[in-house]
Symmetry: C2
Subunit: 141 residues, 2 copies
DNA sequence: GTATGTGCAAACTTTTTGCACTTCG
DNA sequence: CGAAGTGCAAAAAGTTTGCACATAC
């Protein structure tokens, strides 16, 4: 599915959102800038062609797009830095309800992943380590 | 391995770090506060017993501990919010050199993971979704 | 025309930094 | 004692908010 301006206009109006130049530019930037842009990357990218966009607007539009499931935040939502005292290989349980992150240690899983990728090269990329984010809810939540 | 004060003192001095009350308190807090504390969680926790710790110190100590591999940052290092226009299930390649995050789409991998966890319950947790972080380097880096 | 969206600037939150003072070894 | 670490306060990032003005439908 190619991402044309027409396409972007439709994505917006399909969600009942007003089609504004800012929204088009921002959505286009999220698709256009590789490597999962930060808000700053997006602002920079847009200002090349259109110097008049307020950063506040960019944040507001991004939030709107997320609410309408046109884009996502990478990693967890609302991220500040978090620290972990467990230094061995391990994975993480993310509770979508209570904002806790628990460690999940499972050596067999590591073996399974290593086996899986042994025969499956990712072109242009050299794998060092896996961390699986397991998203869900704790029963108590 | 139980985490005693003695143990913490040794961890620090083994790395050639001076053993200060602040470092002990912070390391103890990282171990003691569950769910991967934020810097703020740590500051709060420490101030219960010891109101005189500067937040600047906490950040500096955390950095030192990370440099000496006594703790880790969760998710990516130095995180600001990042946005992703790909809405389907997918995984991420994290380049430790160049700070880019690329999408990695692999339906077979999803199947493998789902199969793996089908027979392996995580007690008290209900899984909704997996995201695998594949850390490594791009050849070009 | 009106509900919705944008610009701007101020405020807030989280993190970093510089420098004088203190402490560990 | 001297190098390393801490406190404090100011500044830098990154993000949010309120309100008057502008625009899509």
């Amino acid at each position: 599915m190619k991402t044309t301006i027409e396409n972007i206009r439709n994505q917006l109006s399909d969600k009942g959102l007003k089609v504004t130049p800012q929204r088009i530019a921002i959505l286009e930037a999220v698709y256009g800038v590789g490597g999962h842009p930060t808000a700053d990357n997006i602002i920079e990218h847009i200002r090349k062609n259109n110097p008049n966009i307020a950063s506040g607007t960019v944040y507001k539009v991004l939030d709107t797009l997320i609410e309408n499931k046109l884009i996502r935040r990478v990693t967890t939502d609302r991220d500040v830095m978090r620290y972990d005292g467990v230094m061995g290989k391990h994975h993480h349980l993310y509770c979508t309800e209570c904002d806790l992150i628990e460690d999940y240690i499972d050596e067999e899983l590591d073996t399974v992943l290593r086996e899986y990728f042994k025969n499956r090269e990712i072109k242009g990329f050299h794998i060092k380590e896996f961390v699986l984010q397991i998203k869900g809810t704790f029963d108590k939540c």
